[in-house]
Symmetry: C2
């Protein structure tokens, strides 16, 4: 019996599931699909799943806002960062060829990440809620003018044909995921992973005065802590004010990181620690 | 004959057209729809339109990444900021009532901005490329189980029925637009507007060293220049590096702003000035 369950958003064959399977390699793992990012968070929070995997950023398209906002709404901890190389495939019916295609379905991000390829054709581009889900959908209809954009794995799962592989705009297309657990849950850190550099993530808000953000970032800069990401999201309390998601190198077990956080906390109107975790290596996504 | 043309993205009745009509009140104005944000920019750049209007940020959902990225790709200037209160309506056929609805179409942002209302119903939510376009689409089919989410104005234009008005999650739902022109074009600034405070926008990249962003922001902070927005977007050159879009209070005609920019330019690996413009007042969007 599988006894470690990992929640992911989408349908079987989704890139999130691929990220989960690349990272969690234990035999005891089972991946469980959920419809929405929020359902993934709730499953972990409600102890229905041990871990959840959420995409937070794409190297070409930027932040995945909805997922980041959920890090604020739920009190889960980031236990790992996963980077997955995203290889998109054009997927159709067994008897179809590229010249038969008239409509292509995928998640809006999938359509955008393949726009250079799609611009060569006069196909209707139809946004769907999930890449793998759009493969499943067209697999049930027997229309060889329909194609979907998703992973090689999704094509295999739904027994559909890959018409063209590697149609993403850029071969440097990576998505970054967080693996999340309830606070206090042990991470499944391997000994290999323990040797990696650590990163930490926080989110905070500042008072609406000149230099407030600058002062907070100064606590990292003066300690030579390298900020790897700064993302602003709208505050829920007040229009045109923001919360800031910051990732930096180092672990909150290190004194200099802890003291930086303590000082930012004094200056910020709000601060939440999202976790410290081993920095990801870039995985090639090939099933 | 109308001789000032304003390009907007979407179809007649789009919120972008509404923003254009609220801001440009001259009788000589005509609004011209374009399919994509990029087409709007190109129309202005190619002198097919005098101005373009692009949504850049929503107060609830945050940055509109695709539009911001185009500010980098084209050499147009921001001549005005427009803030529009977004009132979403559920729109259906003349004979339809809310209980008939089974499917609802809108731009993904429209669906998200109304999710609290939509969560009360078991309707299929189908993403479309444009709010007003989804009204036009359902208006052509005679299926009273279909509804769309768009503006009151879109309902009027396509002669459809408003089933429910004001279904957005939050009554503080505003979208911020930029009006853009070619460099050197005179803005249509009214005398009322000339009394308003000015804002400026820049975009820059830093070297990937600790404190680089902090040092750049310091040039604003030390001059008491209030930064109103900081948005990071992926660099096109290198994975997990970023460019920063910064808005601040003040005009580039002021000495202290100019000297801040000059200093940031020395520290940044790249800097582009997007424009100085009168800060918007919040408009209520009611046709």
């Amino acid at each position: 019996m599988k006894n470690i369950s990992i929640a992911f958003q989408g349908e079987r064959g989704a890139f999130s599931e691929e990220a989960a399977l690349k990272y969690f390699v234990d035999d005891n793992i089972e991946t469980v699909p959920y419809e929405a990012f929020k359902d993934v968070m709730r499953a972990v929070d409600d102890r229905k799943a041990n871990y959840g995997v959420l995409p937070v950023e794409n190297s070409q398209e930027g932040n995945i806002d909805e997922a980041c906002d959920l890090l604020l709404d739920f009190d889960l901890c980031i236990v790992a960062e996963i980077k997955l190389r995203i290889v998109h495939c054009l997927i159709g019916h067994a008897g179809a060829e590229i010249q038969d295609i008239k409509k292509v379905y995928s998640h809006p991000q999938g359509l955008r990440q393949c726009r250079n390829f799609l611009n060569r054709y006069d196909w209707d581009r139809i946004p769907a809620y999930n890449t793998a889900g759009s493969v499943r959908m067209i697999s049930k209809r027997n229309d060889k003018t329909e194609a979907a954009i998703a992973s090689e794995r999704a094509a295999a799962i739904y027994q559909m044909k890959i018409l063209k592989e590697g149609i993403e705009n850029d071969i440097h297309n990576y998505t970054r995921f967080f693996a999340l657990s309830r606070p206090g849950m042990r991470s499944l850190t391997s000994s290999e992973e323990e040797k990696r550099a650590m990163k930490s993530s926080i989110v905070f808000a500042t008072d609406h005065v000149p230099g407030a953000l600058y002062d907070c970032l100064g606590e990292l800069a003066m300690r030579d802590i390298n900020m790897t990401k700064l993302e602003s999201r709208p505050s829920r309390d007040k229009n045109w004010e923001y919360v800031f998601f910051v990732d930096f190198e180092g672990s909150l077990e290190e004194e200099k990181c802890r003291s930086a956080i303590d000082e930012i906390k004094k200056k910020a109107s709000f601060l939440k620690i999202l976790g410290s975790y081993p920095a990801a290596e870039d995985f090639e996504a090939k099933p």
